[in-house]
């Protein structure tokens, strides 16, 4: 079913008391698995506004990422662990001490055989989904920022064909890897997404928060927040930069209302950037035509989002809310 971002509307809002950092969806359904600030993974039926949340894996710390492979949910959190969880029998299949610092993000390969994790130990690790075996350890991000503070490794994403993996850190350094060989292929820089204020406040804000390959895998979109005058809050323009990553060239950039882009979704029709500041924000861009399609607000600061199978509905999760957004033609 075709989509039209200009017709974006909020179909449903589900109020929560917690903060949701990540979402995965059971295919062909409204069943969501969300990663929560209450340290747990929950299953929620997003077709209802008052659905009961079913408890699944418990990390004992904030859960920052969850992905689904068949009947298995794999989650990561501030405890540095990855938990493989049988969602039918509601029991842990496997727990791995995956990182020495908090896990920030997980990416599942398109064929569902590999999962990549990134954490603030500044390492990306690729795991065999079936066995839990560690396949690769990718080190390409500096542990310290240029001003001697600890850096953070926020996000990773596979290309649509699964051959490539991209990782992005706090200072705007993005590495593109050969996912099979575990070898660095390229790197691009998006320093505008990192604001170091060495004069007024002597601290920083920002980082690469969203990554998405184009459908053909040749381009890479990088999202975050542009330069900020006052780093006390997210008072800078939401920002997306698109790179021809093979040539290490930036080919496009666009900005929107104040806030940070936490998630990028790239389809054959549009590139969607979603995130927030005090309020939630969403932008749709036609990269081929280098034109904005639509910019608007969503009901909350969004940390993660997932598209439905038809490409016309977005399930967004964030600050104390789940929102179902429709893009009907």
């Amino acid at each position: 079913m075709p989509s039209n971002p200009r017709n974006l509307r909020v179909a449903r809002e589900i109020a929560r008391r917690d903060i949701l950092f990540s979402v995965a969806r059971v295919p062909n359904s409204d069943r969501l698995f969300v990663a929560s600030s209450t340290n747990k993974v929950y299953e929620i039926d997003a077709s209802r506004t008052n659905a009961e949340a079913i408890e699944h894996a418990d990390h004992g710390r904030y859960v920052t990422a969850v992905r689904l492979v068949g009947n298995t949910a794999i989650s990561g959190g501030y405890d540095g662990r990855l938990i493989w969880w049988d969602i039918q029998n509601r029991r842990a299949i496997r727990t791995i001490d995956a990182h020495t610092r908090q896990v920030r993000h997980l990416a599942l390969s398109p064929d569902g055989t590999k999962i990549a994790s990134v954490a603030d130990d500044m390492v990306c690790r690729i795991w065999n989904v079936a066995s839990g075996e560690r396949l690769h350890e990718l080190r390409g991000h500096e542990p310290r920022t240029p001003t001697h503070f600890g850096s953070m490794l926020y996000v990773c994403v596979f290309s649509p064909d699964g051959r490539h993996l991209a990782t992005g850190d706090r200072v705007g350094h993005v590495v593109i890897w050969d996912a099979a060989a575990g070898r660095q292929l390229s790197a691009v820089e998006a320093p505008t997404l990192y604001t170091w204020d060495g004069v007024q406040r002597i601290r920083s804000i920002g980082g690469v928060r969203g990554l998405a390959f184009s459908p053909d895998g040749a381009q890479l979109a990088v999202g975050g927040v542009g330069q900020i005058g006052n780093v006390d809050a997210l008072q800078g323009p939401s920002r997306v930069e698109v790179f021809d990553w093979n040539r290490r060239q930036r080919v496009l950039e666009f900005t929107g209302q104040n806030g940070i882009v936490n998630k990028l979704i790239w389809t054959s029709e549009w590139l969607c950037a979603i995130g927030g500041g005090s309020n939630g924000l969403v932008m749709f861009h036609d990269v081929g035509r280098r034109a904005s399609i639509h910019q608007g607000n969503v009901p909350m600061h969004v940390h993660d989002a997932v598209l439905n199978d038809d490409g016309n509905q977005i399930y967004a999760v964030g600050h104390q809310k789940i929102a179902v957004l429709e893009l009907r033609a």
């Binding site: 917690d18 503070f149 953070m152 406040r201 002597i202 006390d232 005090s278």
Partner: protein, 434 residues
Amino acid sequence: MARINFCGSAAHAVNRRGFLSTLATAGAAAFAADMTRVQALALPEVAQDLRRNQKRCILLWLAGGASQMETFDPKPGAVTGGPFQSIQTSTPGVRICELMPKMARRFKDTCIIRSLNTRNGDHGGGSRMMMRGRAGESNLDYPDLGAVLARELGQENSSVPDYVSFYFATEGRMFAPGTPGFLGARYGSMDLYTSQIPENMRRAGISDQDHQARNELRGLISGQFERGRLSDSIDSHRQAYQRMRGIMAHERLFDINREPQAIRDRYGPTLFGQQCLAARRLVEAGVPFVRVGRAWWDSHGQNFETHQEMVPELDHVMATLLDDLEQRGLLESTLVITLAEFGRTPNINSQLGRDHFASAWSSTLSGCGIRGGSVYGRTDETGNRVADGEVNAARLFATIYRALGINHQKNYYVGVRPVPLTDPGTEPIREVLA
């Protein structure tokens, strides 16, 4: 009383001779009469003993308001607790945020006060209150902590500054500048805003030798003019000049490049680390009060990442400073304070930030006069209110004064009006004092 200035360098003796030479030229009999005492104080064993006994204070001013929950009063598991865990300190049962492992290990000299309720969540008003220990009064300009300690702990004829303040960030600088208030400019702060070494101390192109020659000429002319006259202004002028000469002679105290590389490496490469090393050099030389402003903690957005960035620096530098002071035999006589204008809300806002919060927050006191390895006061399980041992600004200041051996009920006089150091009826927190 003569002032003991220890810096350990040969240059010190040269400058002292120059200082005495100036006095002799000026015919300052009162100073000359004290020479024997000054020379005796220069004996290494006497100087070492006295420098250990003189009280000093270093204030780590966490401007903008550090979060108590990501530092000294963590609430893991609470809905307000945030993502970080607590870790065990060297005192059984006392836990602090996992971002502070070094302070957790060397907690033995530190007391956390977890029950500040200062009722002012405004940067300006909160800063003024927490630098003065009291709310403002429209017709009375109170001195701040540094000025009071300069007055109480400084020496009259000091050749080093009594109150040095480092504050390089521009944000929040003017919320709480050094303020001598009614004590007068003598106790004002030497504010370092852009350079670690005081600027304009020495005019370009004029050597120290030139300055010394000018000083001698000034002394000769002043002495001739002074003969047969009694004048406060001449005396004040001479004192000011001598003081400035003294400070110029101690320029090297601000220069951390004179420290061994190993010591500099311990403090680390950040500005805050460098300034805390300079602060240690200054208190070691007899400066009674140094404020190191570490701005800016005002994390309305991305609070956890802000603290993940800044707290490890605070942890490392504070632990290093306390270790260094202890190894030099100075910790018993040096009080190290962490303080801000307020803390941060337990509630987490939509930008993953925490906002201003003065109802239940934390400060620490370490070293001189403090019962180390302890905690005073308690907040409730979500951190929204003080559950036990509420402390206001006046009580905190009374405790600081008592730790430094100062009578917190002492009166200053503004005209005939007595002004107590802390509000009448205020008592220090006995449980915090050693």
